[in-house]
Symmetry: C2
Subunit: 338 residues, 2 copies
């Protein structure tokens, strides 16, 4: 493993993503064209609603990972472009269904699709994008790729259901929480990077290394997301502080503060998250408890730990610009918390 | 085409289905085992919710079609069993999402899954079953089968979205209505029967004939369903009369009554379906208008017409018990209206 990767050059985090984008610019443009083309339908509401979410941006983080992973593996064809689009469709479909499930009004700083088009349309257009993503995989024609991405889709749904089950339950465990985020977030990161090795026809060990990279990165990414929900930094990202809190989602910062709190504090968490009795003073109170017990920093430290594992998983690959960019992406994901 | 098929022996309709079940009993048992096995998950809520819908019965009409179509084509292996399970998973996933979209409280005469487990769980378990159905296809390993069933899934979603778009719009056309039911219902019937020819490795013409059989049968099936929503017969099927009416769904009986009504009647339809201002007297009034304009009988006559096309599509296949059973299924679907 090159020492440069062990401690990434701590670039400005946006720069890390910009550098990755610059590196696969042509592929990304082709992927965006593919996305726009394949979300079309004679039923006009489908591209309208999909455009609200897809065209509105988002970082394209997952497709970027597919593109860079394939190139890092020396792949020179263009199958990875279609698969990157496919990964973005799966991601978008889950976002649409998530917002219905969470009853969210905001997504990426603007009105969520369900708030604009209604829950019904969001459910059905999500289904369309799922089905379309499978069509893209079938067009690629590799059963190995199909196995990876279909498996990830099933795992995502399992993670989401588990999250629903343990929601509002302060007795749920860190292990359950990790199962949730491995399912709902990390499984798609892992599949997105793994298929890079598969299209490049690399040995099984490299596919597994890229799977480990994506999985650990995905866990780190979600840990940071969950920490940010309790941070003022969140507002600069166009999101509201305390969304998880209001929904009674049990995330690592909550589990840490709960475990480290005294009886009165546990009573507080049970009232606000289990019984969902919240008033205006409760979010500030929650933030104070988080601070008292270092729940935010320790969640970020945990994220950094998974981030290190992600970087370590790249060790066996030859040094090239894509490898460096993938290592820097880890820093990008974690630095959002700064 | 054998004349016996042109005019099916008009069996008691339940007998037609019973005969089909008897003919593929072993396959159906294997399919049911496959369904129960593959809806399992470490997340207990998934099999619980799936069992509510799947184990609670339903006729297994679509998987029966796959099983019988493969056997009619002379197939002697067991790939069709897994694909029949896959078809039932797709169907179940769409039912779960439909009930969320329709806000239904009843399904097959008992509380719908969303009424018992909540909308959120229904959306997510539907996603799981979709993903699982794709995993089953991938295990089968035929790209041709994958193409057919993935394509059907995308078409189903398109049909459902179109239905949502033209809902409450009395100016929508018969053509749009046919697009909706071809998408939401007939596409899966067509795919379910078509894969029978594919696993049996039959020529393209036979795959297309089975596609036509399934598609026309599916349209007939949905036409009868839509007619039944305005018939007292509905209650004997454990469903409520007037569900479509209350939701403002524009179905063929409505389009016929609307087109044949005078200005006052059109005003009535606009008030109740477009403006959704309904009171107790309105459903009886709607039923009376349907009767006055023969909307029910003419919808059934249209269904019979599509049923005849379905039977005609079987003409090229050698006579065997499965072919006769598939012809009789047409009668089963239409006779529900009697």
């Amino acid at each position: 493993m090159s020492p440069a990767l062990k401690t990434p050059p701590a670039p400005d985090s946006e720069d890390a993503l910009t550098a990755l984008v610059a590196l696969v610019r042509e592929d990304l443009d082709a992927c965006n064209r593919q996305i726009l083309e394949r979300m079309q339908s004679p039923v006009a509401l489908i591209p309208q609603l999909a455009a609200h979410l897809i065209a509105a941006g988002g970082k394209r983080l997952r497709p970027l990972l597919t593109l860079a992973a394939a190139r890092m593996c020396g792949y020179r064809g263009d199958r990875h472009v279609r698969l990157a689009a496919c990964v973005e469709f799966i991601h978008t479909a889950t976002l649409l269904h998530d917002d219905v499930v969470d009853e969210s009004d905001l997504r990426r700083g603007r009105a969520s699709a369900n708030a604009v088009f209604g829950n019904q349309a969001s459910v059905l257009v999500g289904d369309f994008l799922f089905a379309r993503s499978f069509e893209l995989m079938v067009e690629d024609g590799s059963l190995e790729v199909l196995r990876i991405l279909c498996g990830a889709s099933a795992t995502i749904a399992e993670g989401e259901v588990l999250q629903l089950v343990i929601q509002n339950d302060t007795s749920s465990t860190e292990e359950q929480y990790l199962d949730v985020i491995e399912g709902k977030t990390a499984a798609l990161f892992a599949a997105a990077t793994r298929v890079g090795a598969v299209v490049a026809d690399r040995p099984q060990a490299e596919a597994e290394a890229l799977d480990a990279y994506g999985r650990n990165l995905g866990i780190a990414f979600q840990l940071v997301d969950d920490a940010l929900d309790y941070s003022a930094k969140q507002e600069t990202l166009g999101k509201t502080v305390g969304d998880d809190f209001r929904e009674g989602k049990i995330t690592l910062p909550v589990l840490l503060a709960f475990a480290r709190g005294d009886e009165a504090e546990r009573g507080f968490w049970k009232r606000v998250l289990e019984e969902r009795q919240q008033d205006e003073a409760d979010l500030p109170q929650a933030l104070e408890l988080m601070q008292r017990h270092h729940a935010f920093e320790d969640t970020i430290a945990r994220a950094r730990d998974y981030g290190d594992r992600a970087i370590a998983a790249l060790a066996g690959f030859p040094d090239n610009p894509e490898k460096q960019a993938l290592a820097n992406v880890v820093e990008f994901c974690i630095a959002r918390a700064r």
